[in-house]
């Protein structure tokens, strides 16, 4: 007998007490099975409190900053200048560029643009100073930005190896209030990375320290 059959057999014997008429709802697609919806009581809220759109964006800014992300706000017209200012202040000479990034975003920046190529080794990525990306969605209640590997965000590794990540969030379109709302907007088939502030650890005396393996500086531009 294979281990697969052995384990499944053990599970079935272990569940001998579960009534037979308790038909198992096995959902065929996201949220499509009414039976499964009935199996779990979801009395929790879809978002906490009620806020105007502007207040939701303010909350996002506040929570991002609370977890040590540096937050900038600007209009679409000022975006290129804002990015250029951030890269100059950091002293970045090179910036990684995902393939689908809006070319206008970097027009004002006086840096060498490094396109991300499939062949780039981790060591090559490690030598780049900064990376600029867009995002898929941002969560106000938790101060989270989510990347899903779309062309304007690039492969997961490019926002990981460089020490400085600049992420552009289009407000208010890309901002949701809560985690449930963010999941609704994401495609499970795409790899996603949820980022809440720069890399951190609580491993020394259970106290939070920023800056371990991921980018130690996260700058978020809320544009709109």
């Amino acid at each position: 007998m294979s281990s697969r059959e052995r384990i499944l057999g053990r599970v079935r014997r272990a569940l001998a007490d579960v009534p037979r008429d308790d038909t198992p709802p096995v959902p065929e697609g996201p949220g499509r099975d009414p039976q499964y919806e009935q199996a779990v009581s979801r009395a929790y809220v879809r978002e906490h409190g009620s806020r105007s759109v502007a207040e939701t964006v303010d909350l996002l800014a506040e929570n991002l900053a609370d977890y040590r992300a540096i937050v900038h706000r600007c209009t679409a017209d000022d975006l290129a200048a804002t990015i250029a200012g951030i890269l100059a202040a950091r002293g970045s000479g090179t910036v990684l560029v995902p393939p689908g990034l809006e070319p206008e975003w970097l027009t004002a920046a006086d840096v060498e643009q490094v396109p991300d190529r499939a062949a780039s080794t981790p060591h090559e990525l490690d030598r780049v100073d900064s990376v600029v990306t867009a995002c898929a969605v941002a969560v106000a209640e938790t101060g989270t930005i989510v990347l899903d590997g779309s062309p304007d965000q690039g492969r997961r590794r490019i926002t990981l190896v460089p020490d400085h990540h600049v992420c552009v969030v289009r407000v208010p379109d890309q901002v949701v209030s809560s985690v449930p709302q963010a999941l609704e907007r994401l495609d499970p088939a795409r790899p996603s990375t949820w980022i809440s502030g720069p890399s951190a650890t609580s491993d020394i005396e259970l106290d939070r320290v920023e800056g371990v393996h991921g980018p130690r500086t996260l700058e978020v531009i809320l544009v709109g």
Binding site: A14, V26, H123, R157, P188, T201, E205, G214
Partner: protein, 492 residues
């Protein structure tokens, strides 16, 4: 479960040593009290906490009740997304599978994300025996690995170490494993984190094989989720060419939507954050992004035996947040090592004896490693009634009875350690069933009461050191009742 802790003394003995170590107690007290207050604050921010907790409980219970269906469903989804699924009935089988998969890549070193499942099966030791070096990359796991130590906490395995001890371990050991610690390293947490960053970076950048666990697996989509803080998880999950994830079969949730519950309750319960710095989700493989080969090893190793216990199966709801450790008065004083398992604290006290059975001294003693105060149940984000399971397991240890071990029903013998208690209960039953004997015994006790010792002899001595034995009355109650006709005659 792993052989790492074989030969551990019973909990009371192991705890004795810890309780007498003032550094350890200080470290634990500081860390658990810090996180306790922060967790309470993070939970209070969410107005619907009790509804989230109830939904989390129901999702997990539902999944467990139909686990066979969801496992098959998960296998289909992961396979359809380009992953390869393996099944491991026990630790040895899981270790053999992983070692074979690593060897097939031609590599002799791997980088690891912190994972309870691989700790549980002793994967690092098994790989070492096959000539494969596994580098732990979580900061606390690194401290444990460099210090040739054992983990003592689910979330922060090096919680028993303070910053000074960590500095000493880094300075002494890092050069053995790779890049040495920087000259003049101090004990500020930021500098220690920087030292770990530099030490591990060369390993991440050259790694060809990554090994992880997972916090959740979504049956309908085949998505795996790893929740972390440092970015070492992202490194291991995205830079290597091959990814091997070893995950307990109970980590399934049915739908993508179910993540909305646990992504709210887990970070607040574990690191007391609104959201942890990094969460990675991946579904099979993605062309051009991340590992191009993905193996999922589904691990039983005692989980189906636990599932067979109608009371004890709720332990499988656990999402490994460690909130129960941080509030437990016993854990705070005894520390994690005394539990003799990678799962310490209240959850360990109900999980280890079920995953491993209660044959060993340490496992039979774990259900007693609690004052049953219930703080663990209060904070549990999936509402595991830990005191209920503890009492249930105590009963099993004392009285024995039918249990499932490795898929087979067996009958446990009552534990030997409780022979005196059982003998006393048998004697009481005999006496209460024989009024004549009871009367004779009571009269004898009353008449000899001046001769009774103030403290108990033998093994009872320690117990009566700080307690008075109850005074025996001059006359048994039943004699008094008969003599006074129920108190009407002589009120003496």
């Amino acid at each position: 479960m792993s052989g790492t802790f074989v030969g551990m003394p019973a909990f009371p003995e192991a705890a004795h040593e810890a309780v007498n170590n003032p550094t350890l107690r200080g470290n634990l007290r500081h860390a658990t009290h810090t996180i306790r207050a922060k967790r309470a604050k993070a939970v209070a921010e969410v107005s619907d906490w009790s509804a989230l907790r109830e939904a989390g409980k129901q999702i997990k219970d539902h999944t467990l009740r139909h686990l066979d269906r969801y496992l098959v469903r998960l296998e289909e989804s992961v396979t359809a997304a380009g992953g390869i699924v393996h099944w491991a009935a026990d630790a040895d089988e899981a270790n053999r599978i992983v070692a074979r998969l690593v060897k097939e890549t031609g590599e002799s070193e791997v980088v690891k994300v912190k994972s309870m499942a691989t700790q549980e099966i002793g994967l690092n030791e098994a790989l070492e025996a096959e000539g494969i070096r596994a580098y732990e990359t979580d900061l606390a796991e690194l401290i444990v690995q460099l210090g040739r130590d054992r983990p003592s906490h689910i979330l922060v395995p090096a919680i028993h170490r303070n910053r000074g001890e960590i500095r000493d371990i880094f300075t002494r050991e890092m050069s053995e494993w790779g890049r040495p610690a920087p000259e003049g390293l101090t004990d500020t947490p930021a500098e220690l984190a920087e030292a770990a960053r530099l030490h591990l970076r060369e390993k991440f950048l050259r790694a060809k094989v990554g090994i992880s666990g997972a916090n959740f697996m979504v049956a309908e989509t085949g998505t795996l989720v790893v929740v972390e803080s440092e970015g070492n998880g992202r490194m291991c999950l995205t830079l290597p060419e091959t990814l091997i994830s070893v995950v307990g079969i109970e980590k399934i949730v049915p739908t993508w939507r179910d993540l909305e519950v646990f992504l709210q309750t887990l970070p607040r319960s574990s690191t007391a954050e609104r959201m942890n710095p990094y969460t990675s989700m991946w579904t099979g493989t993605t062309d051009g992004d991340g590992p191009q080969t993905f193996h999922l090893v589904l691990l039983d190793n005692g989980r189906t035996d636990t599932l067979a216990d109608e009371v004890g199966r709720q332990a499988l709801r656990c999402i490994r947040c460690s909130a129960c450790l941080n509030v437990c008065p016993v854990y705070e004083r005894a520390g994690g090592h005394a539990y003799g398992s990678v799962y310490p604290g209240p959850i360990g006290a109900i999980l280890s004896p079920q995953l491993r059975g209660t044959a060993s001294e340490i496992d039979a003693s774990l259900p007693y490693a609690s004052s049953l105060c219930g703080a663990c149940y209060e904070v549990c984000p999936v509402a595991i009634d830990i005191p209920e399971v503890l009492v249930h397991l105590r009963e099993r240890v004392v009285e024995g009875g039918p249990v499932t071990r490795e898929g087979n029903k067996v009958v446990l013998k009552p534990a030997k350690g409780h022979a005196a208690e059982r003998a006393a209960m048998r004697a009481a039953r005999w006496a209460f069933a024989r009024p004549g004997a009871l009367r004779a015994g009571q009269r004898l006790a009353s008449r000899t009461r001046r001769l009774h010792p103030r403290t108990l002899p033998g093994p009872g001595k320690a117990w009566s050191d700080s307690r008075d034995l109850p005074a025996v009355p001059a006359e048994p109650f039943r004699d008094w009742w008969q003599r006074t006709q129920g108190g009407k005659g002589d009120a003496k």
